[in-house]
Symmetry: C2
Subunit: 332 residues, 2 copies
């Protein structure tokens, strides 16, 4: 297994998914069914977010983890669809909370249908998710995703409450992204392991892969929020700055600055006008803070792959390794 390289040419996610394509196709069908069986406006608004695209990373993780454990059942499709619905529900609600207007090159659900409908849509997606999970008749599976969803809500509430608190420490930031992303990706891997009835040690190892992948994923996401292009990422950028959320590159830069420069920098952060946001971004780019973000993301991605070491070589194993590489070199 080769270590993560930041210079490697980016593979396409679709190519990585080739091996599990039939499973992901069936996942889409389950998501479609969720939309179709709703009444009134439901099919239209559920379809709007389900068909918007997205990487389907969580369903892929569930399926690959279960495959690594040699399972042949269709249960990973159900659990994968549920994990995607939970993810979509959090996106719909987070986009209201963050006042984002663009997601996957389209208006967010809140912009398209209004905050009120978006609140209820998120609720609907949550209920569908837990309904799918409960259909497997395995309380451990429900418990796994209930825990991580709780953690996500807690993390988001605490992040809202810490907005514009510019003394946020690196470890507080890491706790936020643990809650926001890493925990659910860990649960997706653990979910697959549970379906394959793997040993506790193996499930823990796969959970570590998912958690580290999630940490890498979110650091890259937060870095793209600073220096990405909306035309490429397809979502509203600089929302973190607008909402007073400190992310890794900003925290790293803050610590590097002398007292006088730091005051100036914090002043920009405190008042994220268009002009100040531009100044912050130039500063971040010149300082090497982006490189530091990528470096730390690559570290987590390497940790993810290390967690897979005890598993024999196989196509799902190779695919998971390639996904970790993809995560840190992606541009959207």
């Amino acid at each position: 297994m080769s270590p993560i390289s930041l210079k490697q040419e980016q593979e396409k996610l679709e190519d990585l998914y080739q091996y599990i394509f039939p499973y992901l196709l069936q996942t889409e069908r389950v998501l479609q069914d969720v939309a179709t069986r709703g009444k009134g406006m439901i099919p239209e608004i559920v379809n709007y977010v389900v068909q918007a695209g997205g990487k389907r990373l969580r369903p892929a993780l569930v399926v690959l983890s279960a495959q690594l454990g040699g399972t042949q059942s269709d249960d990973p499709i159900t659990v994968g669809a549920a994990s995607e619905l939970i993810h979509l529900a959090t996106l719909v609600h987070d986009d209201i909370v963050d006042r984002a207007v663009l997601r996957h090159q389209k208006p967010t659900a809140a912009v398209q249908f209004g905050d009120e409908v978006a609140i209820l849509l998120g609720d609907y997606l949550y209920v569908e998710a837990f309904s799918l999970l409960a259909s497997l008749n395995d309380p451990q599976i429900v418990d796994l995703f209930a825990r991580s969803t709780r953690t996500m809500c807690q993390g988001e509430i605490n992040q809202v409450r810490r907005r514009f608190q510019l003394d946020l420490s690196l470890s507080e930031y890491l706790a936020f992204i643990d809650h926001k992303t890493a925990t659910l990706m860990g649960a997706a891997m653990r979910g697959g392991a549970r379906l394959a009835r793997l040993s506790t040690d193996q499930a823990t190892a796969l959970g570590h892969y998912g958690w580290n992948l999630g940490m890498a994923f979110q650091i890259i996401d937060d870095t793209l929020d600073l220096v990405g292009e909306e035309g490429v990422t397809g979502k509203t950028l600089r929302t973190d700055l607008a909402n007073g959320k400190l992310t890794l590159p900003l925290i790293w830069l803050r610590e590097k600055l002398g007292a006088e420069e730091r005051e100036k920098f914090l002043g920009f952060l405190r008042e994220p006008t268009m002009e100040n946001v531009q100044l912050i971004i130039s500063w971040v780019k010149e300082s090497g803070a982006i490189k530091e973000g990528l470096r730390q993301a690559a570290n987590f991605a390497n940790q993810a792959n290390t967690a897979l070491q005890s598993f024999p070589d196989s196509t799902p194993h190779k695919t998971l390794s390639a996904i970790a590489q993809y995560i840190v070199t992606r541009t959207r």
Copy 2:
């Protein structure tokens, strides 16, 4: 069993609950635990809504239904607490959607903590609810409440979309309150029946009781929204008018009016200024529309009690009948 009377002196709900008091006390403990085991801000904000009060009608229905079936287990406490959490989650989100500021004599969660935190708080309560339900290891129970929660979300979305559509028919209104309230109360009764492993016929009868009770409850709620006093009901009133939601008394009055008067009435509804709201309310009071609301609520409450006829006389039976009487004579 005596028929529902609108003139009967109102019993206190606490007196009706006396027989199931130990169960409701344990329900409170479960709700407390949900708050306490959260991290960060969670205990404070969950406690805020859990301790705000409320009638605990859904937990009472689960317990009484299970008792009617002769069950001795503690499972009704778990299911009752879950049904209350679902109810609280919908209140927290509906109060954002309806821009309500007061609930149980206190600022709504949205006003107290901000819309963002309130959105995430509602999510947290939903997850806790389904987590509790799944802990019983009975997919039928999860399915029952997942269905009714889905129905609630669907109903609320469709109601948002029909705001200020002043041609709303009585049957559309009845469908809204079916979704908003009656379905969950039906599920509470069916949940108790499931825990007691009652026959399909018995479960259906108890479901009918709950559904009809919910219809009566919501018609009274909507009537109190028009003519109640905030000091007594403890919540923001006239939100239906402000949000362009037509309710039974308004629909009834609209149909009674001649063409000219109707245009005037609809004009007031279209622009719910403080002055116009006062005019609408006087009109509603004078017209007999409130009496009509109470009459129709009493009809549903009578239907609720009729559904109990096949069950032998017992304390839970008597209590359920008394609750139906309470529902239509309550002032808050």
